[in-house]
Amino acid sequence: MDVIEIVLIEDNPDDAELMIRTLKKNKLANNLVLLKDGEAAIEFFFNNKFTNDKQYNQYPRVIFLDIKLPKISGLDVLRRLKNDKNTRNIPVIIVTSSTEDPDIRTAYDLGANSYVVKPVDIINFRDTIQKLGLYWLIVNEKAK
């Protein structure tokens, strides 16, 4: 069973690719699971219990959640995550395309921990991680 550390919920494949590339480049994309929309996210967290292609046996350390998702919206996913006692404590970083997005406010009200703006450059990312105290994520190599 593999350990996951980052779950990324993003519908736009280009945006997802860019983000993963950045993280990979900085050796931060280890154990990253990409979910393509809100429905998949609900399925993963609540219904299938962490089954994607592989089975995972623990919660991720951090969730990147794109606000604009088709079908079940990002805010609804957030709501569910924060209402479930198992997932409530996982830090959720909202990914948004502009700082003016009015949904940022709503996300914070629902319990989001921070936000980053697309495209996610490395500086932006590091700052956010630091703010959330997830220092351990910025480790180059994980001992296997």
Binding site: D14, L18, K68, S97, S98, D101
Partner: protein, 698 residues
């Protein structure tokens, strides 16, 4: 004896004459009068004693008993005693045997007279022939008795001799004298009264205000009083003997027609011998008309024969003129009331009935005057309005208010409603019957209709405004959502273009040659630019739509902060940025931030090619406006293209010179306009630019 009797009679007559003459001028009520009469009576008694009937030896009979007793009776104590004293003195002086007796007789007569005087005074008896006879008998019986006081017993003889004549004749004499004097006294008193009455009447005649004219049966004037002389403007001499028809220039009736002299009141009285009262005549005297009211009466003599005509003239010219003025005023008032455009009515305050109405009132109600005068106001008032009207009317009747004004409805005779403005005033008239109110009524149906029309239109308008606002609001919202989603959706591909081109450059740079690099850069540059354009357009449209939130702004701090935001340390080293003491203003802080960001960025950008950039910010205040100014020493622009300066996407420099989307200044202008301010600029190529904008002081 007969001679003596006649003598006595003569004396009596003399006494009477003297008395009559005296009583006219001497009041017997005063002390002096009583003295005088006493003396008079006394003297007459003496004269009586000078010619007596002598009975023998010093015994004389005369009328002294009669005279003295009458004196006492009429004159009272003083007169009686004085006359008695005088008579007694003379009798004693005469002497003789009967002197004492004679004196006693005098005394007793006086006393008895006095007794009857007091009886009369106390109204126990009147002086008339009965009481006089009784007194006479009493006096002479006493006298006879006194004879027995004569010495030597001759009394009896005397009595026997004289008793019958004394009792009869002397008593008769007493009665006679008394009656004559009484008669005289009352006659004189009566004539005095008459004089007094006459005097009073004469006084009234002379001084009264009404004129009195006496004419005889031929119509000739016999007498007039002072007042008549004044009225007729002729004196008695000029009037006497003339006929009333002759003394006037002209005489007219009240309507101006000639007054026939046969119809003059006095002449009518002559004809009919009946009183004629209350005739008004206009006397033309000295070319002026004098109005008189005449009452004329026939006067008869005591024997019912015709005597004179008694006419009273009352000058009523002033009164008539006053009445005419009142009448004229009434006519004028009536005309005003009748021709008024306002309905006027007089209402009985108790039963509400119409006492008088003018034409306008009747026409407002669509009824005739006659119909209105039969009914009361309640019956023609719209039921809902009766309460309001009645309660006000009650206050008016109670004197709590003295007028009121309400709008109410009447029901016209055809059943339709008319709105009126009603004013009611209490009339303070001194009249008989119930007090009255004056009501004024204006037809306001048109106005009321107009009012309700306006209300209807207003609410329609409001409704339309609400609908339109809702439409606009929803349109705005749509636009908002649209622009947001558009910009968001447009940005996503841009991110991809930028991001992947970056990857190419970073990760596959070895595969690219110089040209490849250059082209990649061009791609990225354009993607970035497109992003910038989208952002600027988004801001631009937002600014147009957003609500302004005013607050007081510390402009100096804002400028300073923005300067630090838009520049980095390195840049700032080459810039000389000066902020003067600029005024604070009440405006939308977010929008103002955008303004300064743009202006300061521009100033920095366009002066970046100079060695040292000099940028200065200043403000002035004048007449309710604050004018801000930012100067730079940069590239400036050609004033020829000033019109394009603030246009959207208009650029006065190429991207080679200075980067920019051309939206910034358009955005700034829009913001300034939304604050009701103005913005303009001055510049010279290479000498720098000055940008000014004004904001009103709120």
């Amino acid at each position: 004896m007969l001679i003596e009797m006649l003598n006595n009679l003569t004396l009596i007559i003399t006494l009477t004459v003297f008395y009559s003459l005296s009583i006219r001028h001497i009041s017997d009520k005063e002390l002096i009068g009583k003295f005088i009469f006493g003396i008079l009576f006394g003297l007459i008694a003496i004269f009586g004693m000078m010619n007596p009937y002598t009975f023998g030896n010093g015994i004389i009979f005369d009328g002294r008993s009669v005279i003295i007793s009458v004196a006492s009776l009429f004159g009272g104590a003083i007169t009686g005693s004085i006359s008695a004293i005088i008579a007694i003195m003379y009798r004693l002086w005469l002497g003789g045997v009967g002197a004492i007796t004679g004196s006693m007789v005098i005394l007793s007569s006086a006393l008895i007279g006095l007794i009857f005087h007091y009886l009369n005074l106390k109204k126990i008896t009147n002086i008339n022939y009965i009481s006089l006879t009784v007194m006479g008998l009493t006096v002479h019986l006493t006298m006879l008795l006194l004879m027995f006081t004569l010495p030597n017993g001759i009394g009896l003889n005397v009595v026997r001799a004289v008793a019958i004549p004394v009792i009869t004749l002397f008593t008769i004499l007493t009665t006679l004298l008394g009656m004559i004097l009484l008669n005289q006294k009352s006659k004189i008193k009566a004539s005095m009264h008459l004089s007094e009455s006459e005097e009073k009447l004469r006084y009234i005649f002379k001084t009264m205000q009404q004129g009195i004219v006496y004419t005889n049966c031929y119509g000739e004037i016999v007498d007039v009083n002072r007042a008549a002389e004044v009225i007729l403007e002729l004196n008695l001499e000029e009037l006497k003997g003339r006929k009333s028809s002759e003394i006037f220039q002209k005489v007219i009736h009240e309507d101006g027609s000639q007054f026939d002299s046969n119809l003059f009141p006095s002449n009518q009285v002559i004809q009919k011998w009946e009183k004629v009262e209350n005739i008004t005549m206009g006397l033309i005297i000295n070319d002026k008309v004098k109005w008189v009211n005449i009452n004329s009466y026939p006067l008869e003599n005591p024997d019912k024969s015709r005597n004179l005509i008694f006419t009273i003239l009352e000058d009523i010219t002033e009164r008539k003129e006053a009445n005419q003025i009142i009448k004229n005023s009434e006519i004028r008032m009536r005309k005003i009331i009748e021709s008024a455009q306002v309905g006027i009515a007089l209402i009985d305050s108790v039963n509400g009935k119409f006492i008088e109405v003018n034409n306008r009132y009747a026409s407002i109600l669509g009824m005739s005057k006659e119909q209105l005068l039969k009914i009361d106001w309640i019956s023609i008032t719209y039921p809902e309005d009766i309460e309001k009207d009645k309660s006000n009317m009650d206050l008016l009747n109670a004197g709590k208010i003295n007028h009121y004004q309400i709008e109410k409805r009447y029901i016209k005779s055809d059943g339709s409603i008319v709105w009126v403005n009603l004013s009611v005033v209490h009339m303070d008239e001194m009249i008989k019957g119930n007090p009255r109110h004056l009501a004024f009524v204006e037809d306001i149906t048109e106005r009321k209709n107009a009012e309700s029309e306006i209300l209807k239109l207003n609410s329609e308008l409001e409704q339309r405004v609400i609908e339109r606002t809702q439409q606009l609001e929803s349109t705005n919202k749509e636009l908002e959502a649209f622009s947001y989603s558009v910009s968001h959706d447009l940005r996503a591909p841009l991110r991809a273009i930028n991001g992947f081109t970056q990857i190419l450059l970073e990760d596959y740079s070895s595969s690219f040659d110089e040209e490849g690099h250059r082209i990649s850069n061009i791609i990225m540059r354009n993607a970035k630019r497109m992003g910038q354009l989208i952002d600027d357009l988004l801001s631009f449209s937002k600014v147009g739509r957003s609500e302004l939130h005013f607050s007081n702004i510390d402009m100096q701090n804002m400028v300073k902060a923005i300067y630090y935001e838009v520049t980095n340390e390195k840049e700032r080293e080459l810039i000389n940025f000066k902020i003067n003491d600029i005024a604070n203003v009440t405006a939308d802080p977010n929008l103002m931030r955008i303004v300064w960001t743009n202006l300061i960025s521009n100033a920095v950008k366009f002066s970046s090619k100079k060695d040292i950039s000099i940028i200065e910010v200043d403000s002035t205040t004048d007449q309710g406006l604050i004018c801000y100014c930012i100067k730079d020493n940069g590239a400036g622009f050609n004033m020829e293209y000033i019109d394009k300066l603030f246009g959207v996407f208009q650029r006065l420099h190429s991207d080679d010179d200075f980067i920019g989307t051309g939206v910034g200044l358009a955005l700034v202008q829009r913001i300034i306009f939304r604050h009701q301010g103005k913005i303009w600029a001055e510049s010279e190529i290479d000498k720098g630019a000055k940008f000014y904008f004004t904001l009103p002081i709120r």
